[in-house]
Symmetry: C2
Subunit: 229 residues, 2 copies
């Protein structure tokens, strides 16, 4: 699948993401009209990621956020009741969208090798569509409260498990040679994360997300299909 096809398929426009955010947090948001709320959340969300990814969430002042989002300080506080709550909202919302999309993408596929390729591709494409959020989530994990931090770790281990299970299946089938599946899955994760953590590098070198996906797939398969040793 081409990246553009994927993008249309998952249909993760900024507005769609903001609507998710609104619905997920209906109880704590004071605004009642969905249209207004979604429009403003979209602005807050985008502005918060932009500033945080430049200087870190804790260094972002709410004045700055207010000016970047085009809303007053007072208005901001009708969408969340503290800066920490904003952090949790951003984190929880993005994670919910990402996890749901991933699960949708990786189910209903047959053939071990096909599934491995597709899982790698889906992870990469998704992190490309939601790049600012993925970068943010990675960099701010340590600033979350205990509960949210735990969920972030679980999400990392869950997506890793997607890979280790496919690999184990391939080993059981005799398709792949026997390897340390946990370590290999961790390495796949690390490589997938590099794509959104070091965008400057790959952009500078004009590497497309498709090329990157193809490279990783080839790299991993060479290891799994290697003859001896």
């Amino acid at each position: 699948m081409k990246f553009e096809t994927f993008k249309k398929m998952v249909n993760l426009s900024k507005k769609a993401i903001s609507r998710e955010l609104f619905l997920e947090n209906r109880e704590r948001i004071k605004i009642k009209k969905e249209g207004v709320a979604v429009k403003n959340l979209e602005k807050i969300f985008e502005a918060a990621l932009k500033i945080s990814n430049k200087k870190g969430f804790s260094a972002m002042s709410l004045r700055e956020l207010s000016s970047e989002a085009g809303l007053s300080m007072g208005a901001l506080y009708t969408y969340f009741s503290s800066k920490d709550e904003l952090l949790d909202m951003l984190q929880a919302m993005g994670r919910a969208v990402a996890m749901r999309t991933l699960i949708e993408q990786i189910s209903d596929l047959t053939g071990t090798q096909e599934r491995l390729r597709h899982a790698i591709q889906a992870h990469l494409y998704l992190s490309e569509v939601m790049q600012p959020w993925f970068y943010f989530a990675y960099m701010e994990t340590k600033n979350l409260n205990r509960q949210e931090h735990k969920k972030a770790i679980e999400a990392e281990l869950f997506t890793e498990k997607v890979f280790s299970e496919i690999i184990e299946e391939g080993v059981a089938e005799g398709l792949f040679r026997s390897v340390d599946t946990a370590l290999l899955a961790a390495m796949i994760k690390a490589m997938l994360q590099d794509w959104y953590l070091k965008r400057w590098k790959y952009r500078r070198r004009s590497v497309t997300v498709e090329e990157y996906a193809t490279f990783i797939t080839g790299f991993v398969e060479a290891y799994l299909l290697a003859s001896g040793k």
Copy 2:
């Protein structure tokens, strides 16, 4: 080489690192007696990394640093003249120690495959000895001023180049098959970085740094030595 042997060889005790820090910044530090300065810098350095790695440098208050380091606010300011300068000092110092050690380690080795293995191992072992600094440097890069930021990028690309040059050499010799060396080198970097960025994961799984080094070496060699495709 075993990790413990490496550790003794490079002799990077905390005190040694602090002495470097003192010598590198002699002009901006007001304290004249080397003994006093090194002892306190050691405390400041360790405390700053500890707090920053927990909550981020910008969220660390100097009062907190002062209490963790066991020095008053006033005393802190005889070692640096602003919080930003402290950030730059930490960054510059660690980078200088790391780069020098790496260059020492990777020179004077013959045999392409041997050099590749050794480079991977040296990077990992070094990041293990200086783990708090490596984690800090990665997470705080975006908060550096333009000049320091540029140097951090250069250091990343320099170490990447170490790998791509060895690989290119191997390809020229006909030892390795022809691959995208830039991408492969970037992937090696990403995997090496995961070791110090996600220590919790590898500790939880009781993976030793030697095992990790062996795994990556095998992974990369399988790709470089793969037959067809």
